[in-house]
Symmetry: C2
Subunit: 394 residues, 2 copies
């Protein structure tokens, strides 16, 4: 209870802290990488798998200063910096990554890679192979013939690129939400390579509730007649289902305190809902308008594949979470967000307890900010010192 | 944090307590009541408003032993007892209401009234006037021409019936969720009449987040082409939108711990989601199957009207919650549920703080059980002693 009041009181301080940690923004370049004959966990071989990637900082002579950032479900490898000085926005974690920032690119070589089945298929700066890509065997989009992919598959894709760059050691892997899953999976899949993991708004495995929450978001798309079992690329897109799905995702990703702050005045002035059942409050309408707008930029099938990746996540992808924890050698920093309604702190705590039981090195801290899951991105600046200290410790 | 572990540990005890408080089940009879020319807060006059009601216990000679129970959004006046000994299930609060139970019908005359716009229009034991009723002016269903109704309108409807029965004093009003809104509104609208209020999983007003959450559930129906601005009674019902909406309501009404308990074994055995993106986990499918099944029994328009009632709720329906609190003379018992994801305890706490600031008599206790909002119904037995003590205090 006290935490809740504490968090809200500290809202102003958090935002201030976010702003003060927001320094110089670097210029970054997007690159491409192609993997041939990539074999997925499910046993399918993809003849060609294209991914985009970007980096910041300089690889040192021993190639031992690498930090790998994995992105969240609707995100891309654009973790920080700008492609052009005129870009309106920098990458999502520019708050903490850059020259002189918490993840100091004067010291570290930071890189990030677009996931397979990345949902931003219409973004010219994103390169990915997924259900919207052409299947060379048929000359048509893969659709739902694309294999189900897991966090482990993404790790394996990233591993091929790192090997190509001659990188055999990761100073740290880090990411928020889906990015946390992939970052943690690295430490279980390649324990000798990974020295540290920073898990932001993450957990050790999707519990049943997470699987169901993500499942209902997926069902909104599958229930749209236009989805047509994933074969929609030559016809109308399942835009209604996609918007429906995103509206629920957006609702869950922002905690109540955030809504209160943002919409209180607007909703209080709305008279229409009092007299016309067909009208709704501004906050509902804005969530929907945003969902409809965003539905147009994402590929619904790709989004479904990444929802599934999150549903299937269990560290190590073995019989139990405990088994997945066993090989870990990395130090782990867990940063859940106090009001998170997608990956609640209780899920992160369960994971911490299992790590401690196996004598793993864990640092646990909570993000106190009013947005919930979204605070893994927008309030990350409040944990700049914790992150910086964790990275510098030997 | 400690509360969370505490609640889970006590799960078995809670359920046990629920069962032990479940004693004899009484036989109840459903009655009808018609109000002529009922005027709503929005200024519309309904020529005829029919409601169903039921009671248990005996009205004493001074008519001072009355407890009025108001039902939750998808509920009915069937608060306890059975209509026939063969009925599979008793009313939803049979755990605590009946002869010798926490709300002892050997002492109290307990009654409950179907809400206007009740969603159970196909239930032969429910009597209500709402959007699915025939508008005598047109000879067709009201649809969205039915006026928006508020918690205050429901109180006014109930007040007419109580006046008809010669009841001028309420020993207590009580209800869960929407039923809490109506129970509390009674104490602000008729402060001289109401001695006590028991608010279960309730708050003092819908904050913006609540308005938005309820709004997205409503939008699922309004976005279904079959909804046709509420004019669907002669054609296909907006069943898909209704099922979509209910799936999100069911997801929110049951906390993560409940899903873990119920579906862990089933989900762990599901192999299809690993190999086919078109398939989902059993927990998702069961939520959807239940939503589809339930979508067939509720009237979507009526459900929209009650969602709206909840969105509009602010105690007293004046300019501020503080103003609505001012007239209260009743003692208030607040019983939020620790893991509630619809009306979170922080909302109830805010309300408690405002009540205390105005020197109102408040008793606050939390339901510790793993289902969240639903625990206002299924774990109510764990608070039998608190309720009984609160009712008996002078």
């Amino acid at each position: 209870m006290k935490h809740r009041i504490f968090a809200f009181t500290f809202f102003v301080i958090c935002i201030f802290s976010t702003i003060t940690s927001y320094g110089e923004t670097a210029i970054v370049e997007k690159k491409k990488f192609v993997i041939e004959n990539f074999k997925t966990m499910s046993g399918t071989t993809l003849p060609e798998l294209l991914v985009g990637w970007q980096s910041m900082g300089t690889l040192n002579s021993t190639k031992s200063n690498v930090i790998l950032v994995s992105h969240y479900l609707l995100g891309t490898s654009h973790f920080a910096g700008k492609y052009n000085p005129d870009d309106k926005r920098a990458g999502y974690w520019d708050y903490i990554i850059g020259p002189g920032k918490a993840v100091d690119t004067n010291k570290y070589f930071v890189l990030s890679i677009d996931s397979p089945a990345n949902a931003n298929t219409k973004n010219p700066n994103v390169f990915t192979t997924g259900p919207a890509s052409i299947n060379p065997e048929t000359g048509k989009q893969y659709g739902t013939d694309f294999p189900v992919i897991t966090a482990r598959d993404v790790v394996n894709v990233q591993h091929v690129l790192l090997s190509h760059l001659g990188i055999n050691e990761l100073h740290a892997t880090m990411g928020a939400s889906m990015g946390s899953h992939i970052s943690l999976e690295w430490a279980s899949a390649f324990p000798e390579m990974v020295k540290r993991v920073i898990s932001v708004v993450g957990h050790g495995e999707s519990n049943v509730w997470s699987q169901t929450q993500l499942g209902t978001w997926g069902a909104s798309i599958r229930n749209d007649p236009n989805w047509n079992k994933g074969d929609y690329y030559d016809g109308a897109y399942p835009s209604d289902g996609m918007a429906e799905s995103l509206s629920h995702l957006f609702l869950a990703a922002n905690h109540g305190h955030a809504y209160e702050k943002k919409f209180k005045a607007a909703n209080a002035q709305n008279r229409e809902p009092w007299i016309d059942i067909k009208e709704d409050f501004e906050s509902t309408n804005l969530i929907y308008d945003l969902a409809v707008k965003r539905a147009a930029i994402y590929d619904p099938n790709s989004y479904l594949y990444l929802l599934r990746l999150c549903q299937l996540f269990r560290l190590g992808h073995g019989d139990s979470l405990e088994a997945g924890i066993k090989p870990l050698k990395a130090k782990i920093l867990l940063l859940p967000s106090e009001f998170d309604e997608i990956i609640g702190p209780y899920m992160t705590e369960n994971f911490r307890n299992l790590l401690i039981r196996q004598n793993k090195h864990v640092v646990y801290d909570e993000i106190y900010a009013p947005w919930g899951h979204l605070d893994g991105i927008i309030a990350i600046g409040t944990k700049a010192d914790v992150i910086s200290k964790f990275l510098d410790e030997t």
